[in-house]
Symmetry: C2
Subunit: 343 residues, 2 copies
DNA sequence: ACTGGTATCGAAACCGGTATCGGTACCATG
DNA sequence: CATGGTACCGATACCGGTTTCGATACCAGT
């Protein structure tokens, strides 16, 4: 268990000072070509790896961008993270991500922990935070970007879309396409206030169109295809007269699709199904399930760009919202009126 | 833009020395209750956050566990990461993950970068590495665990399953259930050598049963439901006599399912579909698609346990394989012989 | 020969914590 | 009263790099 090689070892092997070795490896000025060669050779030979802890401590900043997400099993956040990673690639910055599981206490810990690594920027999910967490973010003294949601007042930068609007627009679109007996199925509303916002918006949209929500079923757990199937069955058994079901998520809608498929209920002729997020599943059954395609990758991209810009300009990030418009895709629902038109 | 608070500031505010403040905040011995109170109060009041860079540099080790994964859009790796995160939660250790996109060069960079943070342990995906990357891992001087694959010789710890075996077993199971005209559909074989291993194993399994693979279709890109649908269509048009299709992935199988569903081809009566990984989708169409349920969460868990044990014992991690057996689920294929039995 | 500029290098201070070790203060004991 | 043990505290030396600043060598210009 030999000790790790340090810059000193490299310098020694190269026959130069620690300083010259440092400069040579970083491609700094004021080093002769000869020294650069010798140092690089020495570093390679003794297998020098470098110590980010030391260099970041000595330098002013790290090359870290903190990313705080509620969950990674939800593919939506994977996509965001991917957008972030891709955009960061080549900038010399590196994402490091923390998971909160929608738990505020864990969130506080994660944010605090992120900050203790002195990242160059921070990307967090959502707009609402408990007071102590908000305090951390406000005093962080680095660019902070809040993503996924624009229904509220951001602390720093903000990239996302209005979930209320998404719900509202979908309600209007459905009503306009002729659906009138609409049900709702949702998941994780207690934890995920963005799903709640969509639902609220949806209700508001229905109300404005003078349509009442016929019924709803909710489940406190994470959304999944299996849960969607179960809830759909529960809802349908009580309300077989529905001509449309709005799901808080595409996973759930997929579960509903399978259920009706096995039941030989025509989709979307008899019942229209709409979810949210435009997940991969939808493209497997083209036109059959409506959805709202949300710009997840783009959100990650835009968030990074905000941070990069703030870093470049040196100025702190002013509270600015960047709204990315999601796109409603009703699929066949848009062209096929429900089988049983209302009187 | 006030400077960040340091431990010195806390000490000053609390009227003690830097050392006492340090001890108080970490819950070290040799501090009076009175000092602890004052320091904690001071820290809270001035909003002290701590500096992991400094503490990790000064102490011997960080609380980081590096995790190197090829991709996060593939839900399989999200599940692994989740298992890791969950198991690490409460241990004081923290995962930090790097993405390679199946690119060896990027992989080298990621591993090197991970190591430069002096993590306490490292979890990497796969068994095969280019020489330079392998050298880094061998000389890392920390517990290294390789996951997902056991078909080969590990550098340190190793948790996963044999992909060759998974393919082999599935071939045998399919033949035994009466399927004889079998096709294959796969994705990303160039990059993902684990999918390749499954395919090789599958071919070996067929051969042993004296069954020939009728046809195959492959795509170099990432697997997705849409791709599965497309490849299935391509394969089916040329070979409508198949009674079974093996997919390298559940995503692809799901695409095939949708295709046949729209075509009104009975599943699994006329064509049996089997994928791999036991993803969420399968549970939405119970029994209809066969799969191999792979223990992703468990792999993450076991990998962490290996590292924790190595850290606790202080000994380096000997090359040991831990094999987790995946479980084949043929669903209805197991009980329903193909509609057109062979002559 | 002297001055000034450029290229190259290294010693020392420092980043913000922790490990180590040597002091006090205070009390109990013989 | 001398001794020793315990509880608590702080000065100092690091950890492994980078920043800063001054030193040296060498060459051109005058």
């Amino acid at each position: 268990m030999h000790k790790r090689k340090t810059l000193q070892d490299v310098a020694l092997a190269a026959g130069v000072s620690k300083m010259t070795a440092s400069r040579a490896l970083r491609g700094d000025k004021d080093v002769s070509q000869r020294s650069i060669m010798r140092v690089q050779k020495a570093a390679r030979e003794i297998g020098y790896v470098g110590n980010h802890l030391a260099s970041s401590l000595a330098g002013k900043a790290t090359d870290l961008i903190g990313v705080v997400l509620p969950n990674l099993e939800n593919i939506v956040f994977s996509h965001v993270l991917n957008g972030i990673t891709e955009t960061l690639y080549g900038t010399g910055l590196q994402p490091v991500c923390g998971i909160t599981e929608y738990d505020p206490e864990r969130e506080y810990e994660v944010v605090r922990n992120m900050l203790s690594w002195r990242p160059t920027g921070l990307i967090v999910t959502g707009l609402e935070f408990p007071a102590d967490t908000a305090k951390l973010l406000v005093e962080a003294d680095i660019p902070v970007v809040q993503i996924m949601d624009t229904d509220g007042d951001p602390i720093g930068g903000c990239v996302g879309f209005s979930h209320h609007q998404v719900g509202f627009d979908m309600a209007q679109a459905l009503v306009q396409s002729g659906r009138k007996r609409i049900g709702y199925i949702g998941c994780g509303l207690g934890q995920d206030n963005r799903a709640q916002k969509r639902f609220d918006g949806f209700l508001a949209g229905l109300q404005q169109a003078d349509v009442r929500l016929v019924a709803q079923r909710q489940d406190p757990g994470f959304s999944s295809i299996a849960t969607g199937r179960r809830l759909t069955q529960a809802l349908w058994q009580d309300h077989p007269d529905l001509d449309c079901i709005y799901y808080s998520n595409d996973d759930l809608a997929a579960g509903g699709y399978h259920y009706f498929n096995d039941l030989q209920v025509a989709i979307p002729d008899q019942v229209g199904l709409v979810g949210c997020n435009g997940l991969d599943f939808i493209s497997g059954v083209p036109g059959r399930i409506g959805t709202t395609r949300t710009p997840r990758h783009e959100i990650g991209e835009a968030a990074v760009r905000m941070i990069l810009q703030a870093v470049a300009s040196g100025a702190p990030l002013a509270p600015i919202k960047q709204e990315l418009r999601p796109e409603i895709d009703l699929g066949l629902i848009a062209t096929q009126p429900p089988a049983t038109p209302d009187p």
